[in-house]
């Protein structure tokens, strides 16, 4: 631990500078106009892996954005850790809500503000620096492989193909991912489950052209009104999702499991005041921790139709659209839910409109075992670095790759995340605490040490 602390202390400024350089690439995978920036971010990651001492570093082309691979095989008899992360980021808009430019990292009271600061540039880069540390101090205890992709925020469309085509190269004993949150530095935690995702876009079409709302209003169905009615019908009075068969495969937790889950510290008053809301909302009969961790959800991520510019336009729009995503829990199947939603949405559309449902992407839910060598190694590492045993939690987010790894490589994943729920992931003013960044760099080598010892 002393070696680690000394090395981090001696290199703090450079560790920050390198991350800032990475954060300056607007590597927004969703928007084609950033294609080159995404590519440049990949090249930068590759360069840094080489500098840190990785071998066979390659920026692997895919049908979409490239995947960066690198490895260090010290001894084939030692266990191998496969590190996964993503260098792409969410779109930064609404830009006007950022206090400082999203791609010009800025430090305010100990926090790095930038798109991707936490999700996931700041988190995966800890592994690059931890690897450098182990390499430079000759403490590398496991073989290590890196796979850093550029399409996580758009559904990892091409990762499956890559993994299937590179099973040999990706062969390992465990997958280590830092792309989740812990409760706080005082209450370190480890996520033991992730929700799956089903993301669709719906289009409701009424008349074949925009109409004058005075001439046709009242006689022709308004697709914006109808879309509103359709969306309103997707949750019932108890805020349960109103799609036939939606809950069929949901695994209900035992009272014991629910009790354990709810022991994680949670202050509803702080939670509400942080969000500036007067009341919480959600599925009746479940706590906030359960609603965000073990229950499936349906959210409207975007809605638009008609005239949305300045001033007033008395138009009856031809079309209205919405982006809708569902978070899934074990054992829901992303493809099955996508099909259920499409079938249901089309079935409830009245005959005075036509609806089109287009799936965006999905991912399977996953649960990680708490009795594995890898989990125990992570537990010991965090306990030593934080002086506290981590609390097992269930995360609300989705990392489709987790189930992909299990299915294709037969590998379990450890979700050792150092972010915070308050890091504004996917929101303006995304941040990552500098303390968490360095704490992560200190913890990771300990994971490798204990994973080697326990294996």
């Amino acid at each position: 631990m002393q070696t680690i602390k000394k090395y981090v202390e001696a290199n703090k400024q450079r560790f920050l500078d390198e991350l800032f350089e990475l954060l300056r690439f607007p590597s927004v995978s969703a928007d084609p106009k950033y294609k080159d920036d995404v590519r440049n971010a990949a090249e930068y990651v590759a360069e840094k892996l080489r500098d840190a001492g990785a071998d066979n570093v390659e920026v692997c082309p895919t049908a979409g954005h490239p995947i960066v691979y690198g490895e260090k095989i010290i001894d084939s008899s030692k266990p191998t850790v496969l590190v996964y992360g993503h260098y792409d980021v969410q779109p930064a808009d609404p830009l006007e809500l950022w206090e400082t430019p999203p791609f010009e990292p800025t430090v305010r009271d100990g926090k790095i503000f930038a798109r991707g600061a936490c999700d996931d540039k700041g988190q995966f880069y800890m592994h690059v620096k931890a690897f450098e540390l182990m390499q430079e101090t000759g403490t590398l205890a496991c073989n290590i492989k890196f796979m850093i992709e550029g399409e996580e925020e758009v559904g990892s469309d091409n990762l499956g193909t890559f993994v299937k085509a590179n099973k040999q190269r990706l062969d390992a004993d465990v997958v280590l991912i830092s792309d989740t949150a812990m409760i706080s530095l005082d209450s370190p935690s480890l996520e033991t489950g992730l929700r799956g995702l089903s993301y669709l876009e719906v289009e409701v079409t009424g008349p074949n052209r925009d109409l004058h709302s005075g001439v046709y209003g009242g006689a022709v169905a308004n697709p914006a009104t109808i879309l509103a009615k359709l969306i309103a019908s997707l949750h019932d009075e108890s805020n349960r999702i109103n799609i036939p068969g939606f809950y069929d495969d949901v695994v209900e937790l035992s009272d014991v499991e629910r009790k354990a889950l709810n022991e994680a510290p949670f202050d509803e008053t702080d939670y509400k005041s942080d969000l500036g809301i007067k009341a919480l909302w959600g599925e009746n009969g479940y706590t906030t921790i359960e609603r965000t961790g073990i229950r499936p959800t349906l959210e409207v991520n975007g809605i638009w139709g008609g005239y949305i510019g300045k001033g007033a336009k008395t138009v009856l729009p031809s079309k209205a659209h919405a982006k809708i995503s569902m978070r899934l829990v074990p054992n829901q199947d992303s493809n099955k839910i996508t099909a259920l939603f499409s079938k249901h949405f089309e079935s409830i559309a009245p005959d005075y409109v036509t609806v089109k449902v287009t799936p965006h992407h999905g991912g399977q839910p996953a649960v990680t075992p708490t009795d594995s060598i890898a989990y125990r190694a992570a537990e010991k590492a965090i306990e030593e670095a934080f002086g506290k045993k981590p609390i097992p939690t269930r995360g609300g987010g989705s990392i489709p790759i987790v189930s992909l790894f299990e299915d294709e490589l037969g590998l379990k994943t450890v979700l050792m995340g150092f972010g915070l729920d308050s890091d504004n992931l996917h929101s303006p003013n995304e941040k990552y605490d500098i303390a968490n960044y360095f704490k992560g760099i200190e913890t990771i080598p300990l994971f490798h040490k204990y994973f080697a010892e326990l294996s």
Copy 2:
């Protein structure tokens, strides 16, 4: 009639060229970035009034866009016709749906395609040319005054002030407006009523920032979902507007009046196929003609919230918005309805969101008498020009000025419109038939002739 036809025949091309020049000004009153274009359009109108022989032509400044005034007083003992029109137009978006540029007028099979072709540049300009015709052929039968404004599409905010301040100058015997539609050249009609308008914008706010839908989804109310539920609740199962007191002041027509109204030719099959819809929608118990003419309506003119760009973003938005307008019928009061809507919308908002309602603009409904000299003059003019007596109809649109004239100047209005419902008012590919343009120029002098004779 021969004099008229001869003069029109001899000047057709110039009449078209001048209108095209007027249509090339993107005089969009709603969008500040077109301020200068609006101004230039006003100057052009003034210039053309002078060319046609009007006196005291002036581009009168207002707090917003200017009002063009001009007059020709031939004999104070003769009746005076006040012509009202507007040179401003609706925004042209969605631009991609225009087959030819909105501000580059193009003729396709006898129709002029351009924003404002019918609403209202093409229609008010007929009066300028009809005035020129009467002037040049020495057939001017009435004194004539022009008031052409530039804010009709944004609620005529400054017209009231102007009218109040210029009662002397605007003194007349009747107001003549061409800003409405007739059934067809084969079935000429005269509108005897107009709906009023109440236009508001609503904002629903949930959390104080955009959130990650995986981390917070299911536990925090989504303002887009809540807005959808609120909008869905504004119409009941019979598609009646679900706002307490909304129908209190609505004047129900007698069965006789309804019967007369429904005698206007209407083919539901043609209507639906023109709009590309399988079924009609509307308030139960009323025909399409009634739904668009004598019944109040509520339409969503625009809705937006969350991520509406390309691709997918798993965000739980902080805010969602909608532009909502209501068409009002006699004796509903625009201000009262605006207040009722605001009060109701705020009252139904659940405590996990906050809502803000901002009124845009409004206008009072109006009915024009069919037993007046002016109406009979219009009837005779149309009968002579079209060879058919016009059918009295009730228009769905709103021209707030009509009630303003009645209240401030004590003047009745004649709505002698030559447009068609199919002219794509407020829509892409707005058009105006060249035949209607010239027919209007022929009909207007006959109105002046008969109005003078009958007075």
